[in-house]
Symmetry: C2
Subunit: 356 residues, 2 copies
């Protein structure tokens, strides 16, 4: 079959012929429809994650997929059923995190990640998976079901944010998303769905108008904040202190400035993954601010089946126009190079292997 891979030692995606996957007992064979591309894929290509699948000198890319059951192979799945696969798998056998349905909370060494570290991803005509790692989605998800995975990451962050504020009456009204990349915009769309309790949402970026991400931010009903004019810690003066900050920039100073952007009793969710960076902070003031105003910060990575299910419900609430504006390119596998291009006019691209 054909697949989009990165070879050991290379740092570009490449179309290749790879062996067809053969489902083991208890695994189904899936036919890939679409696979989204995000920043993690670029990091994998650049070798930041490393960890090729054991015995292979290449890794099949992609972790945001929607697929169709080609062969249930004795599992409870039905041929033709639409599914979205989760990302983490136990490295050998299983472990408590997976048994509890919480692989997202597993620590290093207790998981591999398909398409990211130690396991092949989904950018191939077919892949195999045990049904426990597949979330069934309606037929209407064939085009945009690949967004369930990134949305599930924010569902986890929201779940943890509300949990962290559950010891008291917390009625959040305002949120600030740091970063107008694909994950930032998806999260902003989540905050703007009819069922969201958030009434006033902001999204921070560093772009000049006209810009397609600013257009999406404003069409969603949110306020664009230009970080070149308004730094994160200036939010209370420039707009308002917010109940929730969601960081998806990987810019480490944002993690610290988040403390000042928050209302008393507010919470900051950190999802970016920065490199080492030493800088000065007024640690005394930040520490005091956190304590005296009951503020909280937490980190969140990956997501579990429960959060994929929540993402399914959330995605169904998105307005139709959003998908047209958000997905700026649909590419055939042979257009891999174009699919992985980045730029200010590119928001989210997807590789289409097949259609329903």
């Amino acid at each position: 079959m054909i697949a989009i891979i990165v070879r050991r030692g290379n740092s570009h995606p490449e179309l290749a012929e790879v062996p067809d996957p053969i489902p083991e007992a208890g695994e189904a064979l899936l036919r890939t429809l679409r696979v989204g591309i995000d920043g993690t894929d670029h990091e994998v290509i650049q070798g930041n994650h490393g960890g090729y699948p054991e015995g292979d000198d290449y890794q099949i890319l992609g972790h945001e997929a929607v697929a169709i059951v080609e062969d249930p192979n004795g599992t409870d799945l039905e041929e033709g059923e639409l599914v979205v696969p989760t990302v983490r798998r136990p490295p050998d056998g299983t472990n408590d995190y997976f048994k509890q349905g919480e692989p997202d909370m597993a620590s290093d060494g207790h998981y591999v990640e398909r398409g990211i570290v130690g396991a092949h991803g989904y950018m191939s005509e077919f892949f195999t998976s045990s049904p426990e790692f597949l979330v069934s989605v309606p037929d209407s998800f064939a085009e945009y079901g690949f967004l369930v995975e990134p949305i599930s990451n924010s569902e986890k962050a929201f779940e943890h944010a509300f949990a962290s504020r559950s010891a008291f009456e917390w009625d959040p009204e305002s949120a600030l998303v740091l970063g107008n990349g694909p994950l930032g915009l998806l999260t902003l769309a989540m905050l703007e769905t009819p069922s969201s309790p958030f009434e006033r949402n902001y999204c921070l970026g560093r772009r000049d108008r006209p810009d397609p991400t600013i257009e999406i931010i404003e069409r969603l009903g949110s306020t664009y904040v230009d970080s070149r004019e308004t730094s994160v810690n200036m939010m209370p003066d420039a707009h308002e202190a917010v109940d929730l900050v969601y960081e998806a920039t990987g810019y480490a100073k944002h993690a610290f400035e988040t403390v000042d952007a928050l209302m008393p009793n507010g919470v900051g969710a950190l999802l970016g993954i920065p490199s080492n960076w030493e800088f000065e902070v007024d640690g005394g003031r930040l520490h005091r601010e956190i304590v005296l105003k009951n503020k909280a910060l937490f980190g969140s990575v990956n997501s579990n089946v429960r959060q994929f299910e929540a993402a399914k419900t959330r995605l169904a609430e998105f307005p139709n126009w959003f998908f047209d504006e958000f997905v700026t390119g649909v590419y055939a596998p042979r257009e891999a190079e174009a699919a992985f291009k980045t730029g200010d006019d590119i928001i989210k691209t997807v590789v289409e292997f097949d259609t329903q």
Copy 2:
């Protein structure tokens, strides 16, 4: 009546004759038994908090009290009933935080604090209070009931710590208390009660043996960690990474080093109140560590009636020897100066106005 006060412009405690308090309608008159002294009292004396009660040029000190109902004054209380008062009061009328029973989550301007900021404390022969701010305690609490208030602050921190980890299966086994001051030792004793889930507890200090706090730490069954040999971020190598860090030092670097002392999925509770202090951190590494290991940090201040009730239950679990070792001095009001002395052989002192 007599009271221990600090006068505007002074920075020492002083015994003084002040007007007897007269309960308003809906308030009871309380006769003070004992009032504990802690670091906050020293900060009040040094003028760090400021905020004298409106119209007065002095403030009655003390916020850790146990008292007896002298005159119910038409309230549901009974004469002779033993009570512990909470600290925060609405500044004028009430507000949503107080209506919800969560004055501990109130932001600046929505509360005064008795004995701390804007309201007289309990270091006087009598005080008045509405019953909603009094927690009834058994007669056996006459001697050590004043510890309910500091313990309640840690009950709140524990409540928030568990809440912040409630979105997944969290089974903490180990905890590190930063600081062997009175609040640190009380919290360690809480972690070592029979009903506590924590099996291995550590307490950080910077003292040489023999030392009365190290003796308490070890008699409780915990491990003493000397910060001069083992800094907070060295915990994983020197002992183990812990599930919970409880910071009660007000040393701002500890807040940042806490991230490295934590196990994956662990949580750090910050309670210290440092002054401004700029220093360098590897913000990128800390940010990444928080995200990839699902770690959390939060601040916690004050406590509410529910947490006072939990503290009551907790205090009843403390071993008897603990009180004898922990309370190093009981002073009459006229010995105010001695009661406020500090030193390595002094752990917790208390002013006794009356006995049951």
